[in-house]
Amino acid sequence: MTPVLELEQASKSYGEGHTLVHALSDVDLAVSAGELVAVMGPSGSGKSTLLTIAGTLEEPTSGRVLIGGADVSGLSSNDRARLRRRSIGYVFQSLNLLAGLTATENVSLPLELDGTRAGRARVLAREALDRLDLGDRAGHYPDELSGGEAQRVAIARAIVGNRRLVLADEPTGALDSINGESVMRLLRAACKTGVAGVVVTHDAQLASWADRVVFVRDGRVVDHTSRAAGVESLLAPSP
């Protein structure tokens, strides 16, 4: 099956001459439908750059980005914007919820921007909020929500409609560990419905929710975990 997201030898540099910085170098990454991949690295390792390139918010300096098998660099900027609105959901550490809109309106906004009629968009938004147990908060404004609730609204906005790819940058922000855990449970649940997910983080606990953890250092993928590690057999009691 074609992966939802593929990076092929993707590189990104900023500046030129002696100010040239290689933020990302020759990164290969494939994420399939239903899979959650964590990209883990320290500050400045290039993990956020990787996410903006995967999300088509920036173009790679060299290499390719494919969404659903289609090379994004071949698309016009309008088509790319449409792809972002329809197929990709983003969750950022700063939630970017609009203060003047209710939870439902925040979630329905990307659908309406994409041409879905307002009534239909609201229905879909309410469904997404209900799935995240936020039905009773639908009419509340962001400043009336707790940190955990606001984070869940941001996730609802990322998965509303038929998104194929959800990209999250440190999605649990400053939440405590139990609220952070519920955010990761929601992302996992979204992936189980067939969405491909990428979460970038420096936090091992967050990363451990993923099916696969990819380690980045200095803009390069240096290692990854594998589920076939035989952990279970090591945890068995000694005879």
Partner: protein
């Protein structure tokens, strides 16, 4: 982990057989921690020797021999539960020792060694996180034990991250061979060992 006190705690609920103790211990820790039945019987024999449990007089050692806690045993359990564990002296951690030695052995690529350990610890952590993911909300024992393992692994991974960051701040020449690892006199950590 104190099997001795776990056995006393289980017996404080009522008399039990050895095999039953093994099964209940495993159920209470969400089946994350296992006990072999030999460990259970050895523990019971020592507890009986110390007067903390009593067994049915008749019958031989084996699955049909029932045990119950004594008053002395209940007191021992209460005395153990209250105070925090003695953690003044840090345990001698194999991984810390490996990294320290790697720093001083010429030709060892320390960053690679740190990454190999980090990957392994994360794979373990994934195992416990996925156990947690599959658990029901009311499987509290399992969730609590999995959390304990996850937080412990997280602490070690953070330590590896910090060590790596510290090494990256050093000039290459320092890393190439003259990292200060020689013991200095009167280091307090050394005195604790």
């Amino acid at each position: 982990m104190s099997v001795r006190h776990a056995v006393l705690a289980l017996l404080s609920e009522g008399p039990k057989y050895g095999l039953q103790l093994k099964q209940e211990f495993e159920a209470r820790t969400g089946e994350v921690w296992s006990l072999n039945v030999g460990q259970v019987y050895t523990t019971l024999q020592r507890l009986e020797r110390d007067g903390l449990v009593e067994s049915d007089d008749a019958g031989e050692d084996g699955p049909q021999r029932g045990y119950r806690v004594t008053t002395h045993g209940r007191q021992e359990l209460a005395d153990w539960l209250g105070p925090p564990p003695d953690s003044r002296i840090p345990p001698r951690d194999d991984l810390v020792i490996k990294v320290l030695i790697a720093l001083s052995v010429p030709g060892v690529e320390v960053a690679g060694l740190i990454q190999a350990h980090r990957r392994w610890l994360l794979e373990l952590m994934q195992y416990f996180t996925h156990l947690k993911e599959d658990a029901r909300d009311d499987e509290v024992s399992l969730l609590v034990v999995a959390d304990a393992e996850i937080f412990r692994l997280d602490a070690v991974i953070r330590w590896l991250d910090a060590t790596e960051a510290r090494l990256r701040q050093l000039p290459a020449a320092v890393l190439a061979g003259s990292v200060q690892t020689a013991p200095r006199p009167r280091r307090r950590a050394g005195a604790l060992r």
